[in-house]
Amino acid sequence: MSTLLTVTGVTKAFAGNAVLQGVDFAIGPGEIVGVIGPNGSGKSTLLNAISGFTPVDAGRIELGGAPLQRLAPHRIHGLGLARTFQLPAMPEKMTVFEVLLAADNRRHGFWASLCGGAEQRAQEAASRALATQWLGELLLTGVRDTPAAALSGGQKKLLSVGCALMGNPRLLMLDEPTAGVHPNLRRDMVAMLQGLAARGIALLIVEHDMHFIGELCQRCIVLDRGRVVAQCTPAQLSQHPQVLQAYLGSEHPVVLEAAV
């Protein structure tokens, strides 16, 4: 199987607190991989490291063979990686539709986009069509012209998924996409994300909802205190001794059953 993203030996410490300790894994095109683990196990930090928001102390990260460790986030985005944030903050002074349009950053020449030839107008029309399409799929059509900051928590989550999709990514990383999203819509999201994977987009999904993980993911990466303690299918999770160890003392063993 060809790989799209390869993460090798990624290590990160914040002021002596080791948050990622030699993380290794790989994802192929069109694959859906879940990242689970207790609070504070380093899941969001892993996404930040891959997307260039947190510089790593050691290790290699490659997307389609290109090393990412030293690149700024906007360059990494240019290579085809989009992400969402665990706590999406949205602009006050832009409408939902404008935020989506601003998230479409296929290469535009500075002067070209000011002068606006026929090609520019065609591109603008294409972005508007794409934005309208995602508004529909994410059930945000009704709030198209509201200031983005005024959305509810769940709607912001959905909008941030829409923003990530505006960039036409090869790899999409979502940080707890279903937190605060209505269960019905959660089911629709499973279908939508599977549709993306069918088109060859790889998905790396940080999530606490084991139902969602169980329905969606082919493979799970379990992080505990910054280490990958298991990689297996969602169904195998509850039999994995190290996974049980990682969740021991909490309610999680019960939760793990949900993934079966």
Binding site: H74, E92, M94, C163
Partner: protein, 297 residues
């Protein structure tokens, strides 16, 4: 009355471009750049010196604007891009230091005397009850055209959308592929180019002088804060209000206070008008007059 309205418009046109630039830069760089008004002072000197050396006025105005913009890009490269990382307070103090250096440079380079354009004296146009100096009309016309262009840039183009997205939420913008550093450079250039042009137009009436920037500090900051710092078009309306207050104070006959037929507020106190408005704005509407109140927790 008509003259009063005209004077208000003329004064707000003096303030508009510079306040717009300040607010634009604040929106992205997130610190109040005190040196911003000094770009106006330097723009005024550059334009006047060029014009006196024989450059046609239109070209001198344009070149002054470009020079101010380029200077701001250098200042951003050497000073602000580093200081911003230490937080807005540090960057603001840095901009105060830079402002002092720029004033000192102007003082050393030219001296304390004002320098005026070498333009043929022309009689004011009399339009009914209105007296309009041709220079005033020129400054207002150019300002209006540039304001319209800026509005279009901010609201109607992809670049403007990128600027607004970055101003609102830097991580989201970076995750969407926007290059923050490049956009911030561009905005420093644009903001200072507007200030330089504003200063050069202002010098049509006042000439270029070392304190031109310092005299603008209070009204410009009051205008930008009234409009909501970081809301560029709001700053233009803020400028209109400041101009209205200043013109009111200038024309107010306070003779009745002293039992005299005519008495006016001394020119030196006119700045107090914008100071009072600034204080009231900070107390009552710290986020500006046009705040839509969509902040949520």
């Amino acid at each position: 009355m008509l003259q009063f309205l005209f004077d208000t418009l003329s004064r707000s046109s003096d303030l508009a471009l510079i306040a717009l630039g300040l607010s634009l830069v604040y929106g992205l760089a997130k610190f109040p750049n005190i040196a911003h008004v000094q770009y106006a002072m330097l723009g005024a000197f550059a334009s006047v010196v060029l014009q006196r050396a024989g450059t046609p006025l239109a070209l001198a105005l344009g070149m002054a604007s470009l020079l101010a913009g380029s200077l701001a890009v250098l200042c951003n490269l050497w000073v602000f891009s580093r200081l911003r990382r230490q937080g807005p307070a540090i960057a603001m103090i840095g901009s105060l230091a830079l402002a002092m250096i720029l004033v000192a440079a102007a003082l050393a380079g030219h001296g304390a005397s004002p320098l005026a354009y070498r333009l043929p004296l022309s009689a004011p146009w009399v339009l009914g009850p209105l007296f309009v100096a041709p220079n005033q009309a020129l400054a207002m016309g150019v300002t209006l055209a540039v304001l319209l262009a800026c509005t279009w840039l901010l609201l109607g183009t992809r670049q403007g959308r990128a600027m607004r997205a970055l101003a609102c939420n830097p991580p989201l913008a970076a995750a969407a592929g926007l290059d923050a550093e490049r956009i911030i450079h561009a905005v420093h250039f644009l903001g200072a180019a507007l200030a330089g042009l504003g200063g050069a137009l202002l010098a049509l009436n006042t000439g270029a002088y070392v304190n031109l920037g310092n005299d603008l500090l209070l009204p410009i900051f009051a205008a930008a804060i009234l409009g909501g710092l970081g809301n560029p078009l709001g700053a233009v309306f803020g400028g209109l209000l400041i101009a209205l207050a200043e013109t009111l104070v200038t024309n107010l006959n306070i003779g009745w206070l002293y039992g005299q037929p005519m008495a006016f507020v001394p020119a030196g106190y006119i700045g107090a008008a914008s100071f009072v408005i600034l204080l009231l704005a900070l107390l009552l509407r710290p986020y500006g007059l046009f705040d839509r109140e969509v902040r949520r927790v």
